[in-house]
Symmetry: C2
Subunit: 327 residues, 2 copies
């Protein structure tokens, strides 16, 4: 198994990304193809992994402040070169913490959409009070959606939850402002009409259902999904900020924090984006994992595991088959 890692474009430089690759190489059997500036990469490749790493030099990368639309012209950029490698079947997946718009755009243009998929979607794992995370899609690829896009997201999310997460019968819900069938905006009401003929569709769900274990796949447009994701991160960050301030403020606080460190560790693990790795872009012909720009080594490590699970589960083929069956 070969996985491309775009080493450029992350907020914190190449170091955490290569560290993440090293960690993953220790635990999993795969070959890493690192695309990026070889002058930066090669000094960081230690002797113990040199046989399992291939470096493909690129002189350019897409900066965060650049427009995604420019990516198609930047053939020497790391993400362009990386996409060409998976397109040409030299590797099965790519992980990138670089410019996510550029990654989406090149994945769609160069690797290509699965036949029948109107728009690829970003699929993000969300913590739940149960042992099983839910997934939300689209988490930001498509700000304005048509009802049929949401139906495609539902099908792709179902296949991902079933094949990659291993849920026997994933329950799919439509994110709206109320659980009654009559709720929703114009977009979701139209999508509801189409979705209700699918067995996996459990109807409308509300924002809190993402976390309470009542649903496995949460479908929404990418504008709403992105806002929900960031609002949720915001609440979690605020809660831990308030707790930390109190814990630091006194001796009894420090002791209390110490006694509850197991709970805080569990919470941190549940809420830490790094543990979830990255977000697969579903609907393209190969496995593409979009990682946070601020990814640390643990996040890159987990993103690689996610890529491996997706490859092993043949999720792209499963999604393609689902769209053949959809007709």
């Amino acid at each position: 198994m070969k996985i491309v890692i775009d080493v450029m474009g992350g907020d914190n430089g190449v170091l955490p990304i290569i560290d993440g690759v090293k960690r993953a190489l220790k635990n999993q059997n795969f070959q890493a193809i690192l695309v990026g500036d070889e002058g930066l990469i090669k000094p960081l490749i230690s002797q113990d992994i040199v046989d399992r790493v291939q470096v493909v030099h690129c002189s350019d990368y897409i900066r965060m402040e650049e427009a995604a639309s420019i990516a198609a012209k930047r053939k020497e950029s790391s993400i362009y070169v990386g996409m060409e490698i998976i397109r040409d079947n030299q590797a099965q997946a790519i992980v990138s913490a670089g410019h996510s718009g550029a990654t989406m755009s090149l994945a769609t243009l160069r690797v290509g959409r699965i036949e029948g998929v109107a728009r690829p979607a970003i699929c993000t794992l969300m913590p739940s009070i149960t042992a099983n995370p839910s997934i939300i899609l689209d988490a930001g690829a498509n700000t304005d959606c048509k009802p049929e896009y949401l139906v495609d997201f539902a099908i792709m999310g179902y296949e991902y939850a079933k094949n990659v997460l291993g849920y026997a019968k994933p329950r799919v819900g439509l994110l709206t402002n109320g659980e009654e069938d009559s709720k929703g905006n114009e977009l979701t009401k139209e999508a509801f009409k189409i979705l209700k003929s699918y067995d996996f569709f459990k109807g409308n769900v509300e924002g809190n259902d993402i976390y309470n274990g009542s649903i496995d796949v949460v479908v929404c447009d990418g504008f709403t999904g992105n806002i929900v994701l960031k609002a949720s991160e915001g609440v979690a960050t605020s809660v831990s900020y308030i707790l930390k301030e109190h814990i630091k403020s006194s001796l009894s606080g420090l002791l209390g924090g110490y006694l509850l460190k197991g709970a805080f560790a569990k919470l941190k693990k549940k809420l830490d984006y790094a543990e979830y790795g990255g977000a697969p872009l579903l609907g393209v012909n190969k496995t593409v994992i979009i990682s946070h720009g601020k990814s640390n080594a643990r996040a890159i490590e987990c993103a690689i595991y996610q890529a491996i699970r997706a490859i092993e589960a043949n999720v792209c083929e499963k999604i393609a088959q689902a769209f053949v069956n959809k007709g």
Copy 2:
């Protein structure tokens, strides 16, 4: 000052609502007009408050499962009767934990929109890591919005934050999927173009900005606002569930929980909907406070305080003036 309280229609019956009224009467100088079934209400009116309470009997109320559209025909319902009282200037505000759709519909139809306001909006206070809460509107009154509605929400939110919350220069942001000017969906991009001519407008904000103190007024359509609200509640509930489970699980957990009880109390106060009372419906000619159906006594008490602050701040008149100036 007279305030109407719709005693019917809350999820937990009349008791918590009347308890909330009693608490508020102890702390604030106002007259309460209770609308609802006098057979249920009168036995709960103790001697100490009898002089400050007037009961208006109604034989009907709108059930949660009924359609909001029915409210206009139900002239004997508590919310209809209550609205007529404020419409006729017999009181300055109404608080209701009943059917929120019915409340919105009757407020608009019977009390009337402020001239120039296209759509009234629900305005919800949100906790922030700073001492000052932010507000989000629309939190659910209008699922599908036009760009001009969002502009109206911005103006109303600004006036509320300035006059009721007392912020000297409220900062207003548009909730989108990225802070750059180019981000947003079709709706917010159009609204952005209009809003950028307003001094109070600070541009696009993201979901996490609601809680980090960087913005005072968060503007969005009611579909997005409602989802964000419930998702945020969901995260907070999940975090406290996980902490509680751990605290209960061992002696050291119990001790840790005890030592941190100050922090948990602070968090609870920040995150508890009850402390925020209810959500004002902005854009109608009188003060209308929409409370949670599950409101406890504390929530009703706080909703009454909110009504008093809104009346004292003349917020309806301030909003009306802002729309005259808007032209």
